[in-house]
């Protein structure tokens, strides 16, 4: 066994291990939490990047935990889409962790200067817990995309969910706790439903390894069980993905959580639901995908169209910045779902590109919102008038990211939408293509309204006067990195799309 084969498991286990270490070390050194978390995530990132060429050459990477052969042991099975997701997850987690440092613990200026801070400063004792949970969350997402065992996938899924409830509620005040409970009320039944689906599959196949299940259900006809278990799994993942109409937990959880956590929720965690759908559809149900289950997938594309329109209308109606951004996520999940629901290689490329592009742009949105909230305390869009006079760089990053959310070329958002339209046209769904374009116009309405307020309107009387100024560099740099990433992904899409096309083709070819 060569060294690189261990990379995957190290990428997952390192953050888990450090997550345990952090609270212990914090007994003596409270300030070590963030550097340790950053180190662990950097290692995961480097290992994930190193895996890309290996996986690309071999097609997939299989690793048997404890050397137990599958289907008895747990298999880590990373295909091309999986490894790209690992790179995305580890990079965004790292960037947001850096942002968290000054968001949770702002530096107070020296004596004599007035300083106003309105944000969610976290007491020093809580910070190690935050980073610890954060690392478990990162590890569970990495494990979720890497595993080849469906029960193991469920375990990571639950782990991810539990960490996210805790992180949403971590400010410890009324509203975040209520949002977290609402989130739990939706997500716990969803997890049970996923478990039910896995149980159904296990009851007829006697296996938990995805590849093994796929082989067994392809051989013989199980009829209704296949359809029922598939629907159950899809619904379970759809709650996590906040697919309309199962999105009701999302606006509250996203807007009440600390902003770095909102960025992770919107940028990565909801995408895990979609990834789960894609994974079970192609890796488990591949044989039935084009026949018995085609109508379900097809129906999902119309659900996606409804999500796009609904999310956009709700986003336009909001007066609170973070809730607006959250509804924008509902809308963009619709785009990604559309790429999945059209069941076409090109559309899947579009969906996958949108996963990446939206992750960058939306995380940037939430980080900008976080910077604005922590410097000024303003939550309402109306209060953002004239924000660019005090915080020009943050507002500029927001403007750049909104180009990507709207889908103005040459940004990542445009590329994703282009492939989605291409996919819908080539499968003959002109109406869905039109929805994609119409969604862009509506996105322009809610994004550019905020940009317009920031840059072109004078502040209301007295507002923004006591605001100290721009966010610190350690918050600005992650924000700008994400915004620039969304732009760069649009400009250099021709380098990345072949990878994604390869990934999509290898998924579709499994059946």
């Amino acid at each position: 066994m060569e060294a690189y084969q261990h990379f995957a498991i190290y990428a997952i286990v390192t953050p888990l291990f450090v997550a345990v270490l952090i609270p212990i070390i914090a007994l003596w050194k409270k300030n070590w939490a963030m550097p340790l978390a950053g180190l662990a995530l950097s290692l995961s990132f480097v290992l994930s990047v190193l895996l890309v060429p290996k996986v690309r050459a071999a097609g997939y990477l299989s690793y048997h935990l404890g050397s137990w052969e599958p289907p008895f042991g747990i298999e880590i099975r990373i295909d091309f889409l999986g490894v790209l997701m690992m790179v995305l997850i580890s990079s965004i987690c790292l960037i947001v962790a850096i942002y968290s440092l000054r968001y949770l613990a702002p530096v107070r200026p020296k004596e004599g200067k007035t300083f106003f801070f309105f944000g969610e400063e976290m007491e020093a004792g809580k910070r190690p817990i935050y980073y610890s949970l954060y690392l478990v969350l990162a590890a569970s997402m990495l494990g979720f995309v890497a595993t080849g065992d469906i029960f193991n996938m469920f375990v990571f899924f639950e782990l991810m969910a539990i960490c996210s409830y805790a992180l949403v509620a971590i400010p410890g005040t009324g509203l975040p706790i209520r949002a977290a409970i609402k989130y739990m009320l939706m997500a716990v039944p969803a997890a049970i439903v996923v478990l039910l689906g896995i149980g159904l599959l296990y009851s007829v196949t006697g296996s938990l390894n995805m590849l093994d299940i796929a082989g067994r259900i392809a051989d013989s006809a199980y009829g209704q069980v296949i359809v029922v278990s598939y629907v159950i799994l899809i619904v379970g993942f759809a709650v996590k993905a906040a697919v309309f109409p199962l999105h009701v937990w999302l606006p509250d959880a996203h807007s009440k959580a600390p902003s770095p956590i909102s960025a992770l929720l919107s940028g990565l965690i909801v995408k895990m639901g979609i990834f789960g759908m894609i994974r079970v559809t192609y890796s488990v149900y591949g044989a039935y995908f084009a026949s018995d289950l085609a109508w379900i997938v097809n129906a999902l594309s119309w659900v996606a169209a409804a999500a796009i329109i609904y999310g956009a209308i709700m986003a336009i109606r909001q007066s609170d910045l973070k809730i607006m951004i959250a509804y924008s996520t509902v809308m963009n999940i619709g785009y990604i779902m559309l790429g999945f629901g059209l069941a076409d290689v090109t559309a899947l490329v579009g969906g996958a590109y949108h996963i990446v592009g939206h992750a960058l742009a939306k995380a940037c949105f939430f980080l900008c919102a976080g910077s604005i909230i922590s410097r000024s305390g303003y939550l309402k869009i109306d209060d953002l008038k004239g924000a660019a006079r005090k915080m020009p760089l943050t507002c500029a990053a927001f403007a750049l990211a909104s180009l990507s959310i709207v889908g103005i070329p040459p940004t990542a958002g445009f590329v994703g939408k282009w492939y989605l339209v291409w996919g819908s046209f080539s499968t003959g769904n002109f109406l869905l293509g039109a929805v994609v374009i119409a969604g862009s116009i509506m996105a322009a309405v809610y994004c550019f309204r905020v940009v317009y307020y920031m840059f072109f309107l004078p502040p209301a009387d007295g507002a923004w006067q006591q605001v100290a100024g721009e966010a610190p560099a350690s918050m600005l740099a992650p924000t700008w990195l994400l915004a620039a990433g969304a732009l760069a992904l649009g400009i250099f899409s021709s380098w990345i799309v072949p990878f994604l096309r390869e990934a999509a083709e290898s998924l579709m070819l499994l059946n």
Binding site: P409, P410, V421, F425, I437, F456, F492, S493
Partner: protein
């Protein structure tokens, strides 16, 4: 068509204004003069680089380079052919004058204005040098967004409303163009390039589909080109914007829409298919209605810039009318009018800005005696106003003459009536301005019956207007000098009709 010669110059021309933008951003706030100088130098540099391609273009060369594939099969690709060069030359030239002018005009938040002006310059040049309609769309959309801050620069409520209205028109229009491109690409054969004379054909797609594609392109670009049901933003945006921005709006930004339609007709559909599908009928009808209606509505305006804006609505449709005639002289006239109108209207807006700055007067009815306090400005204004009416020895006459001959050549002599009515109406709304300025006594003081040059104290604003007014006559008299519109437009027409 000759093969494309690989060349960095198109890219350089596009990047040069960006360099001045960087300088504006990075130089510390106290270097105001230096910033102005860099801003002017950037636009001058772009103009110089474009001009350096002139000999090659006149020899029939095509310069270009592929930048980067943005999605599969489509790349951002720059090409300078005769038509693109022509538009690029016009816009960079007007931009140089507008940057000089704005250094005298803009006193408030000038860095923001200069920055977005430089951005718009780059993006518009990108439009002019697009090798495919997709590249055109990318730059066109970016230009739309970058021109918004220019319109609302004064930050009054009226300016903000006008700016929002502009976006309300322009963003859906962008989506419609995107829809057309998508249909064109995925259902119309997949060739988006603008280098041959027609890439679509009836072999690849049905008549209905091609008609829908054309109407979507026409409607989408028609918003910028101010075709009549879609012109609503024009009369609001022009008076609200500062004078240099209005001059650029009328002079070249509206033309970007018209230029898009020219590209679609000439390079995407080709004149044969355009004729075969009878697409010229809606275009001629709408262009004629716009010409008449624009002039009629201009009559009723008292606000000078609003009157000029309605005049632009009508004048831009001259270009479309010329193209839709599909006769050599008509197309020649239409393409030449693009530059001619930029010269005339640029000067008129520059003059209106000087009047506003020096006397504070916005409305025509208040302008009694302005000709005496601002004689040079008003003489320039009068030259261009007369040119707009089609007075011989000016560029306006050349356009009208060619369009009229084109109408006869295309066997549609009835359209001459449209041109004549428009000329008559423009006499009705331009002559009163000249009359009021020179021949009506201001009520409050009677001493100003002699020319007073002491009002004309701002050379940065005056010279651009004078240069344009002189050019209106020079280009109108020495029509066929190389680099003047005729030489380039006739190259395009030669390729089209051989």
């Amino acid at each position: 068509m000759n093969a494309e010669i690989g060349c960095m110059r198109p890219l350089m021309a596009i990047l040069l204004p960006g360099v001045s933008l960087l300088a504006i951003l990075l130089l510390p706030g106290k270097h105001q003069t230096l910033k102005r100088a860099v801003h002017i130098a950037g636009s001058l540099g772009a103009f110089g680089v474009v001009l350096s391609m002139l000999p090659g273009i006149l020899d029939g060369n095509v310069y270009g380079m592929e930048l980067i594939p943005i999605v599969e099969l489509i790349s951002i690709h720059l090409t300078v052919d005769a038509l693109g060069f022509y538009f690029g030359l016009v816009l960079t030239f007007l931009w140089v004058l507008a940057t000089v002018y704005s250094s005298g005009y803009i006193k408030h938040k000038d860095e923001r204005f200069y920055g977005f002006m430089a951005l718009c310059n780059s993006f518009l040049l990108g439009c002019a040098f697009s090798q495919n309609i997709f590249t055109y769309f990318v730059f066109y959309e970016l230009m739309t967004l970058a021109s918004f801050p220019l319109i609302i620069h004064e930050e009054t409520d009226a300016a903000r409303r006008a700016g929002i209205k502009y976006l309300k028109y322009a963003i859906p229009a962008g989506a419609v163009i995107l829809f057309a491109i998508l249909l064109h690409f995925f259902r119309g054969g997949g060739d988006l390039s603008l280098v041959s004379m027609g890439t679509l054909s009836l072999d690849a797609a049905s008549r209905t589909l091609l008609t829908v594609v054309f109407l979507a392109y026409f409607g989408g670009f028609g918003v910028k080109a101010a075709i009549v049901p879609l012109e609503g933003w024009v009369p609001d945006a022009h008076p609200a914007a500062p004078a240099p921005a209005s001059a650029l709006l009328s002079g070249v930004i509206l033309k970007a829409g018209a230029f898009g339609i020219i590209r679609v007709v000439v390079n995407v559909f080709g004149l044969d298919l355009f004729k075969e599908l009878n697409l010229w009928i809606p275009m001629i009808v709408l262009a004629s209605i716009t010409i008449i209606l624009g002039s009629v509505r201009a009559l009723a305006q008292d606000n000078l810039k609003r009157r000029l804006a309605y005049s632009s609505v009508g004048q831009v449709s001259y270009i479309l009318l010329g193209i839709a005639l599909m006769s050599p002289l008509g197309v020649l006239g239409g393409i030449m009018h693009l530059a001619h109108h930029a010269l005339m209207k640029g000067c008129l807006f520059f003059c209106s800005g000087i009047i506003l700055k020096k006397t504070g007067k916005k409305n025509v009815s208040e302008m009694a005696g302005v000709g005496y306090s601002l004689p040079i400005t008003m003489i320039c204004f009068s030259i261009c106003a007369l040119a707009m009416m089609g007075t011989p020895l000016t560029v306006g006459f050349i356009s009208k003459w060619l369009l009229g001959s084109g109408a006869v050549q295309a066997d549609k002599p009835a359209l001459i009536i449209v041109l004549l009515i428009s000329a008559l109406l423009s006499a009705f709304y331009y002559l009163p301005i000249i009359y009021t300025a020179f021949f009506r006594r201001p009520q409050e003081d009677s001493e100003s019956q002699t020319f007073q040059f002491k009002g004309e104290t701002s050379p940065a604003m005056l010279w651009p207007a004078v240069v344009l007014a002189v050019l209106v006559i020079v280009v109108g008299v020495w029509v066929t000098v190389p680099a003047f519109p005729h030489s380039l437009a006739s190259m395009v027409v030669r390729v089209l009709f051989t």
